[in-house]
Structure formats: C-alpha cells, structure tokens
C-alpha cells in the first residue's frame, strides 16, 4: 500500500462507508477495487479529475445557472471515486423500486377513479383532494396500461447501519439520468484502469428502454409510433439532459411551438408539413403543458394538448397530475399505500416521517426541533428545509414561528446520518455523504436502470446533495 495512495489518509470514523464496509463478508470485486485505490497516488487522481472537468466543460455536459441577466454553464462536479452497489444490494433495491412504482401507479389510478383508499380511510381524503398536485381534470381518465409514472426517480439514502431508506419519490419529471450515463463514459475515458476486469452492469441502454416504453403507450393501431421529447427550450437548466435523451432515443427534440393540435390530434411542424405525433415524453411541468387547460400565459405549451390526450389520440409521459403521489405529505403514507394495493410490506422502508398537519405530529416536531429535519411539503431541490442539529438557537426560534403559522406545510423526520464515500476534496480524500436516485422506466412493465445517480454533498459534514446546493455526482457501479 502506497503512503500517497487514495485511501491512505482516509478515515470515515463511525459513519457507514460504502467503500470500506468494515464487518461485511469479503467481496472479491470490492477487495480488488480497494487495492487499486490504495495503489493509485492521490496526485494521479487529481490530475485525472482536472482532465475530466475540462472535458465536461468542453463537451457542454452542463446545467445552466441563471443569475440576473447572465446564464452560466456549470458542470455538475464529478467525483471520480465510484460508488459501488453489490449484486445482492441491487436485487433488493431493484425489487423495492419496482414495488414502489407499482403502488404509485395503482394509487394514482384509484384517486382519479373510485377513491377506494380514501373511502377506506387509509389516506386522509383532504390530504389527497386538497393537494396542490391533485388534478381534477384527470378524474375518470384511463392512461394506457394504467401507467401514470413512466419515469420515476426514487431518492434513497443509507443510514449508519447500512439500511437503505426511501427519502422521496419523484414522479413528475425527474432529472439526472443523463449524468448516470455520462459519468460512466467519463470513468471509461479517464479511469478505465480502475474498472478493468471487474464485472460492472452496463448503463448504456437507457434510451432504448425509454423509447420502447414510449412506443408501448402510444395510441393503439400505430405500428411505428412517432415519439418526441418536449423541452422548454435551449435556455432550460436541464437542456443538456433533454438533448441527451432525444439523441439516445433517436427522436426529435421539440418545443411547444413545433407542435399543433388540429382535428383533435397532435402534429409536428416538419419540412414536409404537419406530420402526426403519437407519444410525447415531456420535460415540461404540468402547469405549462397546455395554456387552454392550465396557465393561459404559458408560451411553452401546446394549446389543446390536454383535450387530444383525453381523447386518446396521443400519449403523454409522465401523466398530468402525478404530483399528488410524490408529495412529501403523501410520502408518509407510502408504506400503508403499498400494503393496501399489493398486500406486501414495503421492501424499502420510509424514513420515519411525521406530518405537522396533525396535532400530534406538530407537537412532537416542536418539542424535538433541535434533533429533526423539517421540510416544506411543496418544495424540492433542498430549499427551505431546517436541519435541527446544525441550526443555531435563533434559527430554531425563527423556524418554530414559521412552523406554527402553517403547520400543514411541513413534515419532520429524524436526522439520518447518511452513508459516506471517499471523495476527492481540496485537502485530500475525505468522507462525504451520498445518496442514490435509481431511475425506473414503465410502459407495460417496469425496468430499472442498474445503479442510478449517486449524488455527493461536497461540503464537509453537509447532508444536502442537491446540485443547486453545491452537490456533485459519482459513477455508480452495480456489480454483476
């Protein structure tokens, strides 16, 4: 072992380290990988990291940050040390994600039709029907194969004991999958010696699988359906991913202005005139999809799209109105929802969650604020949350006021000490917290891309992995 090797001065302390895994039975692939990391000088890793960063910028593998009038292309910082998931772990994760997606789709179908789960009192009626994500226009509508959530990103964390827990479901337009594939390409470009000879599951066929699912949901009777990817345009912060997915699926990347509804059908404006569109994979929020049905001021959508969809002449993925299922307050009921529809226990447990909407939850949250994480239900991206143990007395007081003013807007969870992975930092290789977002694609059936996006909180001690909050990402290796 080299004294200047990547793992030489690495000490995760009492945190669960995904690389070292003390106490686990030996795994030959992990042993070999650790051996290679021990023999790899930190300086070499640093050099390759610099190469990778330059390469990402040149390739424009970026997201766009807007401040004032300027748009800056930023790369999502990429840490070269991979995150490894063993074959057994993946089996559990995959089964858990598939189970969750099935339950989400059954739940959505139910709340937009018979509402049995509400009538049976399993989930409070008000929580669903009064939810901002509940879309009345969806009532009675049957999407093909009963699939509402065609692409789902499930945020999963690992606690101190190494248990996988679901932190959040993303059932609207989850992003990040392009980085999964691009991170793998980058590993192969600059660090292929680390992977040589190891059997790591491929991530290359995401576009193929997605296209297949999009074809499966196309209106009946169409043999070679025209699929398009609908993007808000080149100034959207996730535009790179839209490009990536359109390219990987081999379909046109369109904007609202390229589509038109005529005679109850959706058409795209091509050099040959109007040609029919059968499936729209949209990366536009519900509100912007159709100015006739939702926000009349939306310039990004397609007037009449909802009507065409409801008449079954076009398929839209993900369906409108899925926001009611990935809501943070509904999340608390997911284990019960899974059991209600599938008569199974959740394979992946939730983080213990209290809704401040009920008096008991609020009282508990207020009493234990200093040890809890409190999140606003309607926010995403890590905004507006309180991490009790890291907050000052003044911040706690201030938050207490906000909580009392609008308790229904908050949920609270115990602070989970996320698992860590060795990560290259300015001062050397250090333990940094990570999470995992696997991507599940559902047409007729559900398929999960092996691995998913591993996000890493680059600031020491930070538990917030969001890219908008200084997070980076890692390549995720699922061992075969």
């Amino acid at each position: 072992m080299r004294r200047d090797g990547v793992l030489a001065n690495y000490d995760p302390g009492s945190l669960f380290c995904e690389m070292l895994r003390p106490g686990e039975p030996p795994n030959s692939a992990l042993t070999l990988l650790r051996e290679r990391l021990r023999n790899l000088p930190v300086e070499s890793l640093r050099q390759r990291a610099a190469d990778a960063e330059r390469d990402l910028l040149a390739r424009g593998i970026t997201f766009t940050v807007y401040s004032d009038a300027t748009a800056i292309d930023r790369i999502l910082p990429f840490d070269l040390i991979p995150r490894v998931i063993t074959a057994d772990e993946w089996q559990t994760l995959e089964a858990g994600v598939v189970q969750r997606v099935r339950a989400l789709n059954l739940f959505l179908h139910d709340v937009y039709h018979d509402q049995k789960i509400l009538n049976d009192g399993v989930v409070p009626r008000e929580l669903v029907l009064g939810n901002a994500g509940y879309c009345r226009a969806m009532a009675g509508f049957h999407p093909p194969h009963g699939t509402y959530v065609h692409v789902c990103g499930t945020d999963i964390i690992r606690d101190k004991a190494g248990r996988f827990l679901v932190l959040e479901d993303n059932a609207r337009t989850p992003s990040g999958v392009a980085y999964v594939v691009e991170n793998r390409h980058m590993t192969l470009r600059v660090l292929s010696d680390l992977m040589a000879g190891l059997r790591v599951r491929s991530v290359d066929d995401y576009g193929l699988r997605l296209h297949r699912a999009m074809a499966e949901i196309a209106p009946g009777g169409v043999s070679d359906p025209q699929v398009v990817l609908l993007s808000p345009g080149i100034y959207n912060s996730a535009y790179f991913e839209h490009v990536f997915l359109a390219r990987e699926m081999g379909v046109p990347l369109v904007e609202g202005r390229d589509l038109v509804v005529e005679d109850g059908r959706v058409w795209m404006r091509t050099t040959a005139g109007l040609t029919p569109v059968h499936t729209i994979y949209r990366r536009l929020n519900d509100d912007f999809l159709d100015p006739d049905a939702f926000r009349p001021d939306s310039q990004l959508g397609v007037p009449g799209l909802m009507d065409a969809w409801r008449h079954g002449t076009v398929a839209i993925a993900n369906a409108v109105g899925t926001g009611v299922a990935d809501d943070k307050a509904v999340y608390a009921y997911m284990p019960r929802i899974i059991h209600y529809y599938l008569s199974e226990n959740a394979i992946l447990p939730n983080v213990d969650t209290r809704s401040c909407a009920d008096a008991e939850g609020l009282a508990y949250t207020l009493a234990h604020l200093h040890e809890l994480v409190v999140k606003p239900v309607a926010e995403s991206g890590g905004y507006g949350l309180l991490i009790g143990p890291h907050a000052s007395a003044a911040e706690l007081d201030e938050f207490r006021g906000r909580l009392k003013a609008n308790p229904a807007n908050y949920i609270s969870q115990p602070m989970i000490s996320l698992s860590v992975s060795p990560t290259l930092c300015g001062e050397g290789v250090r333990a940094r917290h990570i999470d995992l977002r696997p991507f599940a694609v559902t047409g007729r059936d559900t398929w999960v891309l092996p691995g998913g996006l591993t996000r890493v909180a680059l600031r020491p001690g930070s538990l917030v992995v969001n890219s908008s909050q200084g997070g980076g990402s890692k390549d995720t290796w699922v061992l075969a």
């Binding site: 040149a58 046109p252 990347l253 390229d258 404006r269 091509t270 050099t271 040959a272």
Partner: protein
C-alpha cells in the same frame, strides 16, 4: 448492397432553419477573418484607410461603424469586427448565433461538431484588445480561419447526411454566393471605376482580392499570364471549379434542393428551385463580357437580391418561417 437511408424520418422545420443558419454564421466568420487578414496585409501604405473602408462597405457596415468611430483605422475596424459584441456583424455576434443554433441542433449534429463549436466560442469570446494589436492580428485571423475549417472538416466527416445536412449545406452555399458577389461588387467598384475591362491593373490589388476569396493559387494556375479584370471577374463569378464562385455555389444549392425534393418529397422546394433555375440560367447564358457590357454592378445587385430571395423562399416554405 448499400443500405438506403430512411426517408420517412421527419425533420422539424425549425431545426432545418437552425442548420441553415449555423452554416451561414460559420461561413461568415471565416469570410470575415479572410477579409481582415488580407486588408491588414495590403493596407500598409497610404491607401490603408481606403482599404479598411472598403472592408466596411463589403459588409454594408459603413454607417454603423461611423456611429461609433471617427475614422476607419485598422485597430478600430478590427475592434468593430472582432471584439464588439454589440455589432451584429462581428465575429462575436456570429459565433454566439452559431452556438445558439448548434445548441438547438445538439441532438442532430455530431458530438464532435458540438464540442468544437463550444470550445471555439470560448476562444473567440476570450479575445481582447491585446489580440487585435497590429502584430497579433494575423494570428487571430489564422485562429478564426482554422476554427471554421476544423468545423467544416468535422462536418464533412461526421455529420450524418440526412435532411438536416442538406439544409446545413444550403446555408453554406447561400452564404458563399452572397459573399462572393459582395466582394466582387465592392472591389471592382474601387479598382475600375471607369469599367476598363481589359485594363491590366496593379497586381497587388488583385492579389489581395483573390486571396480574400481563397482563390489566388487557382487563379494563377488558370490564368498564368497576369491579371485582367474581366478574367478575374469571370473566375470569381462563373468558374465551375472554384469552390466559392457564384456559379458553383448555386450549382451545389441546386443539387441539395433537388435531392430534398426527390428523395424526401419536400414540396416546399418548388418555389426556390424555380427561382434558382432562372438565376442559374441568367449566369450560364452570359459570358463575362456580356455582363461587363451591361454593367457589372447592377447585375451583382440583382444576383444578391435573388440570393436573398432564395433564402426567404427556403425559410418560409420549408423552415416554418
């Protein structure tokens, strides 16, 4: 056995327009770099100011320039074209527009093309006053020319030749046809105001003109005896082998439009093809003497107007306006 390319794959009209514009903006950058380079090389004498002024006139920029600057000095003109992001005809504006169009087309162009434009744009936007000082100017022009030529080479080698490529090539040939007529018009106006077509004029001036059009060596090979105004005009306008002649650009344009109509059944080509047919007939049916006899400048103005009208036909009929 060869595999036919699928002709039932549709191209979004807006993307066709972006491909056309991407090519036009990239051509403009090379063209501008070429013009600045030769103007700088040949503008060292007392006539320097006149040469820089003629560069402004080729691009129709004299008025806009004098709103900002007092005299057409080398540094001011270079600044106007190389650094001024507010000037819509500067390389800064051209590369920004090229990149926006490439960004729109990113799922259709090759990864190599995108990467090169992205890096090239970074290099251009980093240019500063030091780079356009007299001693550095040639280096910058070389960098710009090489950047566009790298782009052109990558396009040749990596761009899949379906509909989108045809629209890209249409943009390139429209731009070349436009640029060459502007160049001839401005230079001939300055070089032979009295239209003495057979006059043998100062070799340096012709040298500059032909180098600006990247046609110097080809011209020497074709006409080794010297420079005759009518031969230079004929070469730049009608030569069937010179890659930037008006006649060859229009012939290529014809091939791309015809292919789009026959292979992809794009009915929207009809109007442009009709106009192009007339334009090409007007060029082919006249000798350079005929043209000079009736007046070069009015003829070039007409060609330019028709090239602009062709662009409009193509954009409105095929690219969704």
């Amino acid at each position: 056995m060869s595999e036919a390319i699928s002709t039932n794959k549709h191209l979004i009209a807006r993307h066709a327009g972006s491909a056309l514009w991407l090519a036009r903006y990239m051509e403009r950058i090379e063209n501008l770099a070429r013009l600045i380079d030769v103007t700088k090389t040949f503008a060292r004498d007392a006539e320097g100011g006149r040469n820089w002024l003629s560069l402004l006139r080729i691009n129709g920029d004299a008025a806009a320039f004098f709103e900002k600057h007092a005299a057409p000095e080398a540094t001011r003109v270079a600044e106007f074209y190389l650094l001024d992001a507010e000037n819509p005809t500067s390389v800064q504006s051209a590369i920004r527009s090229a990149k926006d169009n490439a960004r729109t087309l990113r799922a259709l162009i090759s990864t190599e093309m995108w990467l090169q434009i992205n890096v090239f744009q970074g290099r251009i936007s980093a240019l500063s006053a030091i780079d356009i000082a007299a001693e550095a100017l040639s280096g910058v022009c070389a960098m710009l020319k090489e950047g566009v030529q790298a782009h052109t080479g990558l396009t040749e080698g990596t761009f899949y030749r379906d509909q989108c490529w045809h629209f890209y090539m249409i943009g390139r040939h429209l731009e070349r046809a436009d640029q060459i007529t502007r160049l001839i018009d401005t230079k001939f106006d300055a070089l032979m105001p009295t239209a003495v077509a057979d006059a043998v004029i100062d070799a340096g001036e012709w040298n500059e003109l032909l180098r600006a059009a990247a046609g110097y060596h080809a011209y020497r090979r074709e006409y080794p005896h010297g420079y005759v105004a009518r031969e230079v005009a004929g070469f730049l306008l009608l030569n069937a082998a010179f890659p930037r002649s008006a006649a060859l650009s229009l012939a290529q344009l014809d091939w791309h439009l015809t292919t789009l109509r026959s292979r992809y059944h794009l009915r929207g080509c009809a109007q442009a093809l009709e106009r192009l047919d007339h334009l090409r007939t007007m060029l082919a049916s006249q000798t350079v003497d005929d043209i000079l006899g009736r007046g070069l400048s009015p003829f070039l103005d007409w060609v330019q107007t028709e090239v602009a009208a062709l662009h409009d036909d193509i954009v409105t009929q095929l690219c969704g306006g």
